[in-house]
């Protein structure tokens, strides 16, 4: 058996976030080198602030400025920083209880090594030179010799000119994707321009592409079956809009997106129908794949010229 395919898959998207009043004040404050917490019903100050009281569930809106100095309440050494983390060299993740706050703020501490970090040590904010209204406006924390706050906070109201109301929160996930044994066989056969599915030993249905198991019977499949190359258009739609996710494909609209039951397969796969005016495509049209050099999949399916399939022969496949 040939090796099972695998390849990297990166999922990445710049999600946007509307901040609401509290996060807006907090992030705008960071831009102005002001750190704001919020006062809860029982008189504690939460940093970073939240919109709702974790004890009473009441809406809380009283913002309180705290100092840019504080005490490490716990920490963990990060030996190998990864993409997007606050520092490129090894650092400590720390929870810092800022002077005036009752809770810990998670951030990075720039320290020479784990021996230089301890719970209870005093630290202060190192501000980023360029600040935009983001948690990264605090570049990191650094060791600080003083016991008291450097300066008393001035009691900022949380009102700012030109407040930040939304942020972009990019997300990225890196996977190694493998299609598994059955689909690897299917994909490898496509190189020879053959469509190879698998037959369920129980219901005898042929799945193309194969999944390695029959979703109806719940049993493993192994028997390979070559299907096609001809097939029948079971149903279709005419796509008249160029969507963002097809923009990189060299396809002009309108085009026909069809469900094609390859001869010998028990469910339809999806493909583009061309080689015929879009408004002449019909259910029952007989088609065959058209390959282009170097492509993994057929570029499209075109009419074979055979008579149309009778509706009753493919009705169950729609």
């Amino acid at each position: 058996m040939s090796a099972i395919l695998k390849a990297p898959l990166t999922v990445e998207f710049p999600f946007t976030r509307s901040l609401g009043p509290i996060q807006s004040a907090f992030l705008t404050g960071l831009r102005e080198r002001v750190i704001l917490g919020v006062r809860t019903g029982d008189g504690r100050t939460l940093v970073p602030p939240v919109e709702y009281d974790p004890v009473t569930a009441e809406e809380i809106r009283e913002l309180v400025e705290v100092a840019p100095t504080g005490t490490v309440t716990t920490w963990a050494w990060n030996h190998a920083p990864r993409r997007g983390q606050p520092l490129a060299t090894p650092f400590a993740w720390v929870l810092v209880k800022l002077d005036g706050a009752d809770t810990g703020l998670l951030h990075a501490l720039d320290a020479s090594g784990p021996d230089a970090v301890r719970t209870g040590m005093r630290v202060r904010v190192r501000w980023a030179e360029e600040r935009s209204g983001a948690i990264t406006d605090i570049a990191c924390f650094e060791p600080y010799g003083g016991e008291a706050a450097e300066a008393e906070p001035e009691g900022h109201s949380g009102e700012f000119d030109d407040p930040i109301t939304g942020i972009v929160a990019p997300a990225r996930l890196d996977y190694t994707y493998s299609p598994g044994r059955a689909q690897t066989g299917y994909i490898n056969a496509l190189v020879e321009r053959r469509a190879v599915g698998e037959r369920c030993p129980a219901c005898r249905k042929v799945y193309v592409p194969p999944r390695g198991a029959c979703p109806t019977c719940g049993v493993a499949t192994a028997e390979q079956v070559e299907v096609g190359p001809g097939g029948t258009v079971t149903t279709f739609c005419i796509v008249n809009i160029k969507a963002a996710h097809t923009a990189n494909l060299d396809i002009e609209v309108p085009y026909v997106y069809g469900h094609i039951a390859l001869d010998g397969a028990d469910l339809a796969l999806h493909g583009r129908i061309a080689g015929i005016p879009y408004d002449q495509v019909r259910m029952g049209l007989r088609v065959e794949p058209v390959w282009t050099e170097g492509a993994r999949y057929p570029d499209h399916y075109r009419p074979t010229g055979e008579p149309d399939a009778e509706y009753d022969t493919f009705k169950e496949l729609t």
Binding site: L5, K6, A7, P8, L9, V11, F13, F15, T16, R17, S18, L19, G20, Q23, V50, E51, Y52, D53, P54, V55, T56, A57, E59, T165, A169, Y177, P179, C200, C203, K205, V206, Y207, P215, T216, T235, F236, C237, I238, V239, N240, A243, A244, H245, T246, L249, I251, Y257, G258, H259, D266, L267, H270, G271, M283, R296, Y297, Y311, K315, E316, T318
Partner: protein, 388 residues
């Protein structure tokens, strides 16, 4: 021991719009939850558990809403869980919450669903670039349009039926202050002249992209007895699922949908849904799904659903009104859309639906589906407590 009857005593929605840039996600869900509490005249302390639902994680990049939103929903120190069944999730979420009451695990439960589509991109979330796979050639509309064509072929329905549904639902939405689309100048001619996107689906026959949340307070008999307004009572509820694609799948009328409806009717003692059910809040993201689901849900024989639509039976003043609120076609915060159907069904039997109230609605079905027509969730609510 029989199940505890489940009552809906509080309902809250946000005004659904294209983008709620003034609130965080926490602020959005809070708004719906507080309106539901106010309707029930309850406080956070009265809630024993919270059940939340939203659409797939990639839609907004919020992987654990139950963690992020616990304080906004007063769930600190209480059980809180998240339900996930694609587009049907709002319905499934309500049913999980209802089961906690029916099983007497909790007396009063807050259930809630939301989506902030403006902070996300559902189309991107549905078309990740999986290695070795052929790129998708069409979006959600392109996925469903071939099934609509298959329905038209099977039933022989005239081409105009889809536009009738869209015209009706958009007019119904004008009577619902919470609906997203309020197209005051809508005409049937405008619907029929709107661009064909995924032939046979026109632009005006597709759902919008909305920001919104909905919440309900579910409670037991004792809770209902204390409630300030009349309750909606659950008479039946069920979920069913099946694979997106499998040999023998009926994509026009999926078996999971038929079985789910049959289960709900059995629980509720319904033998003739067309006669015994007064109205339906149906999950119709593309207009043609109204006649398709009318058949799938047993309101019409196979191939006959479009005749109910065409003859005006499903109009607000018809014999079986469908989507009195304007439906998904007028409001679609995806994760919330299923629960909005359930909540609107409850509003009807409580007599609280305002301008889009169906006179004398006693038994109303709430319906949701999701994924590639593979997840179904439904409930039937009544104005009276269940007798058995």
């Amino acid at each position: 021991m029989s199940k505890e009857p489940v009552a809906v005593v509080g309902i809250g929605q946000t005004k659904h719009v294209a983008a709620r840039r003034d609130v965080s996600i926490a602020g959005l869900v809070r708004e719906a939850a507080q309106r539901a509490l106010a309707d029930a005249e309850l406080t956070w302390a009265d809630i024993e558990a919270v059940v939340i639902g939203k659409a797939p994680d990639f839609f907004e990049g919020v992987m654990m809403p139950e963690l992020y939103l616990a304080d906004a929903l007063g769930a600190v120190g209480k059980p809180m869980m998240r339900v996930h069944t694609a587009g049907s999730v709002g319905g499934s979420t309500a049913l999980v919450a209802a089961s906690l009451v029916a099983a007497r695990v909790h007396g009063t439960v807050l259930t809630l669903a939301f989506e902030k589509q403006s902070e996300s991109n559902a189309m991107w979330g549905l078309s990740l670039p999986i290695p070795f796979q052929q790129p998708l050639l069409a979006g959600a509309g392109g996925f469903f349009a071939p099934h609509v064509r298959a329905y038209m072929r099977r039933s022989g329905a005239p081409d105009t039926v889809g536009s009738l549904v869209a015209y009706k639902n958009r007019r119904n939405a004008l009577k619902n202050p919470y609906a997203h689309l309020h197209e005051h100048d809508i005409t049937l001619e405008k619907v029929q002249a709107s661009p064909m996107l995924w032939d046979p689906i026109r632009y005006s026959e597709t759902c919008p992209s909305s920001d919104g949340a909905v919440a309900m307070v579910l409670t037991d008999r004792a809770g209902a007895a204390r409630a300030p307004r009349s309750a909606a009572w659950m008479h039946g509820g069920a979920m069913r699922s099946e694979p997106t694609l499998f040999a023998g799948k009926d994509s026009v009328s999926p078996r999971a949908g038929r079985d789910c409806a049959a289960d709900v009717y059995r629980q509720a003692g319904i033998t003739d849904p067309r006669r015994e059910i007064d109205a339906v809040e149906m999950y119709v993201p593309f207009s043609w799904y109204e006649p398709m689901w009318l058949e799938n849900l047993g309101f019409a024989a196979e191939g006959e659903g479009w005749k109910l639509t065409e003859s005006g039976v499903t109009e607000l003043d018809g014999d079986l009104p469908v989507d009195m609120s304007g439906g998904v076609l007028s409001t679609n915060p995806i994760g919330a859309s299923g629960m909005i159907r359930f909540a609107e069904a409850a509003l009807q039997v409580r007599g609280q639906a305002g301008e889009h109230q169906v006179e004398g609605a006693r038994r109303v079905l709430g319906h949701a589906y999701g994924g590639g027509s593979q997840f179904f969730s439904m409930w039937l609510v009544g104005a009276e407590p269940p007798t058995s």
